[in-house]
């Protein structure tokens, strides 16, 4: 075998269809020629020799045809088997070539891992939140959560999720042939009394709740429908987690007793681990409504039509669509409303998705998560274009190697495939890293931003892994395709000939284009981050009208049954006095409603006219004690605060906020005016005016609000506000609880919470948006900066000669540096302009997710531009320095 043959075998010369024809022809021609020559040598005349050679061969044309046919089928078969064995070869070759450049491989894999990790994490959240029903709940599409929609003069088009019990019963009865309904209500309850008491999340359910959802007990039994009306021995189903925490081993819980509220329950069963109801809310225990809901919300719960408290889920018969179910129930509810509950006569029922986050009016967390999912994809795109850039640079470094491959007969298609294989390997490495990253990311999210969303705890989720795998393939194709095409298009002769001069103009344009794309995406990411950060900072710095830090909310359940109101008043006063003695407590006051938790509205009469209800809610009334405004740190703007002398029997007084003053007495001084409310006899004189407070939702404008002294009204339900000297509440919370229990030792669990916790829940969605957008934005910018750096650095290397010449001709070092930085900044600016245009156009879509922030806030756009310019200058500065340090003599000698 000749050396050239060995080389051909070494590179495995593939059979190519177009050469078959000429090969066959050459072979036959050679044979005929040789035979003729042999015959002529033996003495035949040339003509005879030709004829004899052909006679011996047979029908030349037929043979030629059949040989071509044979070779073609053979080549096809070989191509097929080559393809598969080729993959394996490619794989091994790719691993070898990547191992020669570990730094390059690591950078690419890590870049991809960052992009993929962001997506893996967001996928997990979105999958749990939006794509799947809660765990264990039947997934056949026959379940619907019920939503109630209504036009209200105060709030416009509203969607609510709760209904009264009589309406539920009526709906269930009339809906019966088309399916069944179950209802539940989650509440806080106390387990035990006094200092041993613990807080419990209890879900009161109709007995068909579990069977309707399709959930089976992990151990023991669940409720059966015989318990609908009454339960002689109250039984409870515990969550797996609560049973584990309480009894150590959840399987021993069955038959044990658990006090819930005023009753003692026997544990009948344990729900499967990780069961979070139909709406992803954790519960510690499930009990039937009949067994004890009356103790919490009043014994007349079965008949009260104006109290909406039940969440309802429908299980439709197989042939009933959600639309049909909704329409049928709407008819029932409206006719029920006409005869029983005026409020329900105009309500439309929507049988919505069983996935709560897909509620018809949208959920902020879900929408932000969806946006974040899109943002994660952007980060991946930035990563992909960066990887594409690195691969392009590498392709150029390897031009001669590739040209040698081509010269040896490796097909361009095969070369493309090898390059794509390399990218796939890098992508797979990135994917594995990404899953590790997302495990960490999950833990972080679980702890911080999505504390309310119960994600499954298994770190390796099959759906997530599948998603990441899919994404790896897509990312590898996106990042690897163009470089691979460029590689396969390596001009053969030129590349072999010109050793020193590498990198043509077109390639350079491609790499610049990629940098521009990265710049564009970075702008979009950063504008998004800016919008949410500004929203978050606005939301946290908004003037609430009170100071939540250093403020505690205590809700002791003093009960109402069988006590003389005067006696109850005494007990509340004793509690307040005792709490005031706790070290670090500055002042203590009682209140009926709590900001962001509860409101109360009354009909208000001014000069005999009913005060019209406000759009956006209100006026709301609150009963508060002496010292309330001092405790809340709400200043009295005009007039006076409540005094200890404002008692029953003295003149009825009220403090109102500015919004109410403006609404009730526009253009007049509200101080000294008199008005009536339905629950109190006699008119109330306005004695003071306070600033507006945000009490309904942080994003809502503060509603009109009036305050009445608790001593002139004696409401049953109260909470206590405690102002601390410092903002740290860690030691104060148990101290306040102990103080309350010291005077009321038999109370059920006394809930003491920092007010900041309640306010934080209000800003959670902006916090989520701000944190994640910033994280993803930072990721995107870092990756894009690396991309710009690599392009500029590569550029400088390529243009060493040119720079050398420039310097030799008298260019100063600053000039060269400016040239390099200038080209970096130009590329960044091109990307920025494009990004700004896109961000400008798209950002209005998030405007309702923002808080007091214009989606086109010029400050944000300006800061983004400034930041990115800085990053671009920094990224080009290092290569620029290197360029300016070139020694022209060295450069010109080298090349």
């Amino acid at each position: 075998m000749r050396p050239s043959d060995r080389l051909r075998r070494l590179v495995r010369l593939p059979a190519r269809a177009k050469t078959i024809r000429t090969d066959v022809d050459a072979e036959i021609a050679h044979h005929l020629e040789q035979t003729e020559r042999e015959l002529t040598a033996a003495g035949m005349s040339p003509d005879d020799a030709r004829r004899e050679a052909r006679r011996r061969f047979g029908d030349v044309e037929t043979v030629r045809h059949s040989l071509r046919e044979l070779d073609r089928t053979g080549a096809r078969r070989e191509a097929r088997s080559d393809f598969w064995s080729g993959w394996w070869q490619d794989l091994r070759r790719s691993v070898r070539s990547l191992r020669r450049e570990p730094a390059f491989a690591a950078v690419v894999a890590i870049t991809l891992a960052l992009g993929l990790g962001a997506n893996a994490t967001m996928f997990r959240v979105l999958d749990r939140l939006l794509l799947r029903p809660a765990p264990y709940v039947r997934t056949d599409g026959t379940l619907s959560l019920l939503y109630f929609q209504q036009e209200s003069p105060q709030f416009g088009h509203v969607t609510f999720t709760s209904q009264s019990y009589p309406a539920f019963e009526m709906l269930r009865r009339e809906f019966a042939p088309k399916g069944d309904l179950a209802a539940w209500w989650q509440a806080q309850a106390s387990s035990g009394q006094g200092s041993d008491a613990r807080k419990l999340r209890v879900t009161f359910v109709t007995p068909n709740y579990f069977s309707l959802l399709g959930v089976n007990a992990w151990k023991g039994r669940l409720f059966d429908t015989a318990m609908w009306d009454a339960e002689p021995v109250p039984s409870a189903v515990l969550s797996y987690e609560y049973a584990t925490a309480t009894f150590g081993d959840p399987s021993v819980a069955i038959g044990k007793t658990v006090p819930i509220g005023p009753k003692t329950y026997t544990v009948a069963g344990v729900a499967p681990p990780g069961f979070v109801g139909a709406d992803l809310r954790k519960s510690d225990a499930f009990v039937t409504m009949a067994s004890g809901v009356g103790a919490t919300i009043g014994e007349n719960w079965r008949t009260t039509a104006n109290m909406r408290w039940l969440q309802i889920v429908a299980h439709r018969a197989p042939n009933v669509t959600a639309e049909q179910a909704g329409a049928a129930m709407t008819t029932v509810l409206q006719s029920y409303g006409r005869s029983h509950a005026k409020g329900d006569s105009a309500v439309t029922i929507v049988a919505g998705s069983i996935v709560r986050a897909r509620r018809p009016d949208g959920m902020a967390t879900a929408r932000i998560s969806l946006w974040l999912g899109g943002v994660a994809l952007l980060v991946l795109l930035v990563a992909c274009s960066n990887v594409a850039n690195l691969l392009l640079a590498r392709t150029m470094r390897r031009r001669r190697e590739l040209a040698v491959h081509l010269a040896l007969g490796v097909s361009r298609a095969r070369l493309t495939r090898t390059m794509v294989t390399e990218t796939l390997i890098l992508g797979a490495a990135g994917g594995v890293l990404a899953i590790l990253l997302s495990i960490w990311g999950d833990a972080l999210l679980r702890k911080t931003l999505l504390a309310g969303i119960p994600l499954e705890s298994n770190p390796l989720d099959a759906r997530q892994t599948l998603f990441v795998t899919l994404l790896v393939v897509v990312a590898a194709l996106i990042a690897g395709f163009v470089p691979a095409l460029v590689a396969s298009g390596t001009p053969l002769v030129e590349s072999l000939k010109s050793g020193a001069r590498e990198g043509g103009g077109r390639r350079h344009a491609l790499r610049t284009a990629l940098v521009v794309v990265q710049g564009t995406l970075s702008v979009i990411l950063l504008v998004g981050a800016g919008l949410f950060v500004r929203s978050f900072s606005h939301a946290t710095s908004v003037d609430l009208g009170f100071e939540p830090s250093g403020l505690l909310l205590a809700s002791p359940d003093l009960g109402t049954k069988g006590s003389d109101p005067r006696d109850l008043e005494e007990r509340w006063l004793r509690v307040v006095d005792e709490v005031r003695t706790v070290p670090g407590v500055v002042s203590v006051a009682q209140t009926v409603t709590v900001a962001f938790e509860s409101q109360m509205d009354f009909t208000i009469l001014i000069d005999g006219d009913t005060l019209r209800l406000q759009k956006g809610g209100g006026p709301y009334a609150n009963g508060v004690s002496y010292d309330y405004f001092r405790t809340m740190k709400t200043p009295i703007l005009r007039g006076r605060d409540f005094a200890r002398t404002d008692q029953k029997g003295t003149r009825n007084v009220a403090v109102i906020n500015e919004a109410m003053a403006a609404q009730a007495w526009p253009g007049r001084d509200a101080l000294g005016q008199c008005f009536n409310i339905t629950d109190l006899e006699g008119c109330l004189t306005v004695i003071g005016i306070v600033p507006n407070s945000r009490t309904t939702q942080l994003a809502d404008e503060p509603p009109p609000q009036l305050y009445i002294p608790i001593t002139q009204w004696h409401p049953d339900w109260r909470s206590i506000m405690v102002r601390l000297a410092t903002t740290s509440d860690a030691s104060a919370i148990p101290a306040v609880r102990r103080a309350i229990l010291a005077v009321e030792p038999t109370l059920p669990y006394v809930d003491v919470r920092p007010m900041t916790e309640i306010v934080d829940a209000q800003v959670a969605s902006w916090k989520l948006g701000a944190a994640m957008f910033t994280l993803f934005g930072a990721l995107g910018v870092i990756v894009a900066a690396l991309g710009l750096y690599s392009v500029i650095a590569h550029d400088v290397t390529q243009r060493r000669r040119e720079m050398g010449v420039r310097m030799a001709l008298g260019a100063r070092r600053e000039d060269v540096a400016r040239l390099v930085v200038g080209s970096g900044v130009r590329q960044a600016i091109a990307g920025m302009v494009l990004g700004l245009v896109i961000a400008w156009a798209v950002s209005t879509r998030v405007s309702d997710l923002l808080f007091q922030t214009s989606p086109r806030d010029p400050w944000i756009y300006g800061s983004v531009v400034a930041l990115l310019l800085m990053v671009a200058i920094l990224a080009s500065f290092i290569p620029a320095r290197r360029a300016s340090k070139l020694d022209p003599a060295d450069v010109l000698r080298d090349s």
Binding site: R2, D5, R9, H30, L67, L70, T73, R77
Partner: protein, 105 residues
């Protein structure tokens, strides 16, 4: 004398046991070894060569001959060698059997 069905393959395989050859050389060798007794159309020989190549008994490579012309060289693969042995053995058994019948008196 015409060739028995299927024997051409064995003859070609046999001819390649001495190393790579091109089609003409195989034909030439056949003709010489059998002293022109066997009537084989050269076209059939090439068909057989190509068929066996795709079956994996032979490999073919383009080389250059002494006159600097491109020629297709066939080489026996290990599979082809095994095939040759198997066919030779069965041919011998066949021959022995036929011989036994024909020499019965």
């Amino acid at each position: 004398m015409t060739l028995l069905q299927g024997t051409l393959d064995v003859l070609i395989l046999k001819s390649l046991t001495w190393g790579p050859r091109h089609g003409y050389a195989v034909a030439h060798w056949l003709r010489q070894t059998t002293s022109d007794e066997l009537q084989v159309e050269d076209g059939a020989l090439y068909t057989a060569l190509h068929r066996m190549e795709h079956r994996g008994w032979l490999t073919a490579e383009w080389g250059v001959n002494d006159e600097n012309r491109r020629v297709k060289l066939y080489t026996l693969t290990p599979v082809g060698r095994g095939e040759l042995q198997a066919r030779t053995a069965s041919w011998n058994r066949y021959m022995t059997a036929v011989q036994a019948v024909l020499t019965t008196t």
